[in-house]
Symmetry: C14
Subunit: 98 residues, 14 copies
């Protein structure tokens, strides 16, 4: 395995680890904004608690989906990258070039 | 496969992994803004709950579409990049140049 | 194909993947601002729901168009770059220089 | 074609892909600001809907023009760069220097 | 073990250590926003304390999940990276190339 | 043409492509601020629509002029750079130094 | 121990030291936001002091947990990194390659 | 012409292209702030339209002057740089050192 | 001691010195926010002075704990790094390789 | 003229071109703030138009002076740099070292 | 003393000098926030002057402690770094390797 | 004159050109803040025009002094740098080492 | 004196010069915040002038202390660095290695 | 004088030129904040003009002192750096090593 072949796995790890972290920042703040508004609303008007909670959950779920997309891409990069197999074969088939 | 050929797959992985993460930040905050306004509105005026939810879903869907665009580009880069095939052939057809 | 020729496809991938992501951030936040105002407006004045939704959709469509421009440029870079053909010919016509 | 000649096309691709993305961020946020104000205005004063929509469209069109400028420069860089032809001739006329 | 093979573990460590830190920033601020709103609401309207606390906990849990995703990715990178095993075998099987 | 001579055209392309994009961000946001104020004003006071539109157009035109300056500089760099001719002559007159 | 093997411990130290610092920034500001709201609430409505303090402590604890995650990852990187043992053996078993 | 001599023209191009773009951002936003205030003022108090427009134009002109300074420096760098002539002579007088 | 072995102590010093500084920024601002709210509250409602001071001290202590974590990690890196001993032995046992 | 001697003129050009651009950003925004306040003031209180305009002009002139300082430094760097003459003599007196 | 050994002292100096500066920024702004609130409070309610001053001093002292931590670490790095002694011995004991 | 000696003049030019530009940004915005407040004050209370103008001029002068400090340092670096003379002598006294 | 030994003094200079500048930014803005509040308070309630001035001076002095810490560290680095003496001896004792 | 010795003067120049510029930004904005508050206060309450001016001058002087510290450090670096003398002797005493 040449140095560059290993570089492929290194970058996959980097993209997976930092990508989900960056997405967590944005989606976290977004959920925090929704949560803030929902909590303020319930505190002002406790009777609207049911409707507010439903709307909040719909919104949080859609924001969560964005983080899930990033998580899926990250897991694909770690566990199931199609290009990764090509590179792996190159590693096992050419041991003398380690 | 020369070092530069592998660089192509490395950069595809990087662009896919970080791209969706960056998009998640922006779209997440955008959905958070919409969600915040919707939840505040429902808490103030529970009777408008139906109309507000409909408008919110239209907006969230359009924002979600932006993240989907990025996701699609990312998946194309990982699974179906036309230039990737050209590079792959170069790998399999020239094994002696690994 | 020399190392620099491959660099062309690498940069196309990078520009396409990150470009749409950057555009998604800006357009997403922009749509979030419009959505926020629309939802607040409907919650305050449910009777204006029709007119507000129409104006919101016009604005969201124009913002979406900016992301579409970026998407189109990205797809051109991946699938239909005129300079890419020139470089590809150089690859196939000079296999002995891989 | 020497490595530097190819660098010209690489940078054109980069400038086109990232340029339109950066412009989309700024113009998108700008249109979002205008859209936000228009939607808020219509929701408060539905009778002013016609005049507000006209003013909004004038403004959105002028902001859109800025993104169009960037798009035009980007397409010129990809399809019709005068310096590009000079470089292309150098490529075809000097194949022995690939 | 060649220098590049070790680089794989180094980048895993970096991505795990900085990734969770970056996620902690975003999710922390997000939880702070929700907490702020909840505490303000309880102080203004102590009777709504129960409902507000429930909504706050739902939101904090969803934001916490984003940090958990990042933590899981980080632990996978440290303890159970599938590509890591491939690289480890290369280390033990080729001791003469240390 | 030596590598550095080509570097001249590369940097011209970069400056033109990114320059107009950066200008579009600033001028776009500026026009968005003006548009926002104008639309809000018309919605509040529809009778002032004529005067507001005139003032808005004057301001948008002056902001547009800044983007035009950048566009003009960018087109000069691509099509009519006086130093470019000097460099071009060096390319054609010294083909043996390509 | 080759230079790259030591690089592993260096990066662990860096990730541990800076990671907890970055997390402290985010979680600190988050706790500051919660604390601010709680203190303001108590000052306005001293009777709600008990409920506000309980809610504040729940929130601070959840935010603290994010910093604890980072601290744990940091301590794992310093004291109990599984990959670290592999590298350590390489150090002791191959003293002649120091 | 040695590589460094050409570097002079390259940097002139860069400074001219990016300089006017950076100035456009700042001056554009500044004009946007003035325009926003003027338009808001006219909408609130249409009778003051004349005086407001005069003050706005004075201010916009002074802000425009800052962009003009940058434009002038940029054009000097492209067309009339005194050091440029010195460098140009070096190019034409020493063709054998291209 | 090879150059890379010393690099370990250098990075420890850097992480300790900058880490506590970065943490001080975040925790300082956080404490400032809490302090600001507490002081404002006491000034408005001097009777709540006792309860406000208690809540403020609880919050400041929890924020201070984050800085303490960073300080502890920093001191561990300087005085008691387990990997540091391994590296130190390498220094004393191999003086001929200084 | 050695490569480093030319570097002197290159850096002068860079400092002049970017310096005035950076100054234009700051001074432009500053003038925009003053202009905004003046226009708002005139719109609210048209009778104070004269005094406001005088104060505004004094302020704009002092802010303009800051941009003029930068412009003067930039022109000195291009046209009248005392160190530049020393370097120029070195160029003309030592043609054989071009 | 090899170049890398000196590098240790250089980085200690850098971390000490910049670390205290960075901490001063954060703690300074934090104290400024507390001071601002205290001064505003005293101006509004001069009778609360005593209690406000006490609370302010408690807060300022805790924020000051964060800067003190950084100062202590900085002084340790300059005057009493345990690893520094190891490196110093290496310098004095091996003068022939200066 | 060796390459490094010239580097001294290059860095002086850079520090002078960018330094005054950076100072202009900060001092310009500062003067803009003062100007804004003064103009708003005069517009609201034209009778206070004299006292406000005096206070404004005192403040603007003190802010201007900061820019003057930077300008003086910049001019010293260009025209009267004591170290510059030392370096200049080295240039004239050792022409054979150009 | 080897190149790295001089590097020690260079970094001391850099840390001292930039460190006090960075600290001045933070402490300056902090003092500005305190000053702003004090001046506003005195203008609203001139009778509280004495108490406000006392509190302001206490706060400004504590913020000033942070800048003094940085100044002291900077002066130590320039005039009285203990490691500096070690390095200086190395310079004077080993002139033949200049 | 070796290249590194000159590097010492270059970095002194850089630190002096940029340091005072950075300090001017922070102190300028700080003075602008104080000035803004003072001018607003005088405009609202002209009778408090004397007390406000005194407090403002105290604050501006303390902020100015921060810039003076930076200026003093900068001038020390240019004119009276103790380490500079050591380096200068090395220059004059060892002319044969220029």
């Amino acid at each position: 395995m040449g140095p560059e072949a290993l570089q492929f796995f290194i970058m996959s790890v980097t993209a997976a680890g930092f990508g989900i972290a960056i997405a967590a920042v944005g989606c976290g703040i977004a959920q925090g904004m929704g949560l803030k508004a929902a909590v303020e609303g319930i505190a002002r008007n406790p009777e609207s608690s049911g409707k507010v909670t439903v709307a909040m959950l719909i919104g949080l779920a859609m924001i969560e989906s964005l983080a899930i997309y990033t998580l899926v891409i990250g897991l694909i990069l770690i566990y199931a990258n199609p290009a990764g197999e090509t590179v792996t074969k190159l590693i096992s088939g050419c041991p003398q070039r380690l």
